[in-house]
């Protein structure tokens, strides 16, 4: 069955169609939510809410405007952003730069355990968690979820230029962290 047929069935209250959609999209939605929220409990709550909204608002999906996966990711994105704002966990570029500097300097003073790829990976993971949400979302959607820049911009409700700028800033910041690791390695 196509997404359109499944959603029509969901509109009629067909629970098996709902189950099929959940089975098809849950992994992708939960992974996206985890990359934005960073913890398991919140990810599960948000993922559950996404599919509840799909059930309630099934009639609002317009297949001519967006693919089902795009629509679902947009719901997930909005819920994640609302959640982060509500809980005061919004990162800015300034807070990112402050915190990443601390991590980098602590990495420099204690690089015995993290001079290998595992340490690099750990540093990269920390850096990704600290990225401003717009950059983290943009990177997650394009790199991990496989959306095109246009689709990712539609999910985040921003222009393609703004999205591309967010991706570029995120990648530059992350690459800078790897360069710091390499510099420490060369210094040893």
């Amino acid at each position: 069955m196509t997404d359109e047929e499944l959603m029509l069935a969901v509109c009629e209250g067909d629970r098996s169609a709902y189950q099929t959609i959940v089975n098809q999209h849950l992994k992708s939605i939960s992974h996206y939510a985890f990359r934005i929220l960073g913890n398991q409990k919140d990810t599960e709550d948000i993922s559950q809410e996404v599919f509840l909204r799909l059930w309630i608002n099934a009639r609002k999906w317009n297949p001519e405007k967006a693919k089902l996966s795009t629509w679902l990711h947009r719901i997930a994105h909005n819920l994640c952003i609302d959640y982060l704002r509500k809980h005061g966990r919004v990162q800015t570029q300034e807070s990112f730069e402050e915190e990443i500097e601390q991590i980098s300097s602590s990495y420099g003073s204690n690089n015995d355990s993290s001079s290998d790829d595992g340490g690099k990976l750990q540093l990269l993971k920390q850096a990704m968690d600290l990225l401003p949400e717009s950059q983290r979302s943009a990177l997650s959607l394009c790199h991990y979820q496989g959306f095109s820049n246009k689709e990712a911009a539609a999910i985040m409700n921003i222009s393609i230029t703004a999205l591309e700028s967010a991706i570029a800033r995120a990648k530059r910041s992350l690459r800078d962290q790897l360069l710091i690791v390499d510099e420490h390695k060369q210094g040893d």
Binding site: Q19, N23, T43, S47, F51, I56, N57, H143, K171, L178
Partner: protein, 149 residues
């Protein structure tokens, strides 16, 4: 092309040349082939991508059953659907009795609508109408309580 432009391109569109805009792809590839700094930059980004791919998301073993078994409330329905549901209920009573009754009423409704819009030669200024209005007024004012005894 400059190294800044190439950096922006790789940061925005990634390391795969197939994802670069077609209009400048050839130019970028020839710049890459001739510029050591660009090659180093591309390698750094390739390493970044590889490391990013190693960052895994944990499993959520109970999530699927949680989502599938959650209590699903009433769905949002448009006003038209709500009216239609009210007029034509989908339960057994609606299917067996109410819907046929509604269908049977359609000619009557159609007749009323047509009658409301077309006079069919009957003049509205007919004195008879004022008589009927008087009759209705009298009926409404009449006290029927005496008829009970």
């Amino acid at each position: 092309m400059t190294i800044e432009e190439f950096t922006k391109l790789v940061e925005t569109y990634g390391t795969e040349s197939g994802q670069w805009p077609e209009s400048i792809r050839e130019e970028c590839l020839s710049f890459l082939a001739s510029n050591v700094e660009a090659q180093s930059l591309l390698t750094q980004h390739q390493e970044l991508n590889e490391l990013m791919n190693k960052i895994e998301v944990p499993e959520f073993p109970s999530l699927q059953s949680r989502v599938l078994n959650q209590a699903l409330p009433e769905q949002d329905r448009s006003l038209f659907d709500q009216i239609l549901d009210w007029l034509l209920p989908a339960n057994n009573f609606g299917k067996q009795i109410w819907r046929p009754a509604m269908v049977a009423c359609l000619p009557l409704v159609f007749g009323i609508v047509i009658g409301n819009f077309f006079s069919f030669g009957i003049g509205m200024e007919n004195d008879g109408f004022s008589y009927w209005e008087d009759e209705l007024t009298m009926l409404s004012l009449n006290d029927y309580s005496e008829n009970l005894f």
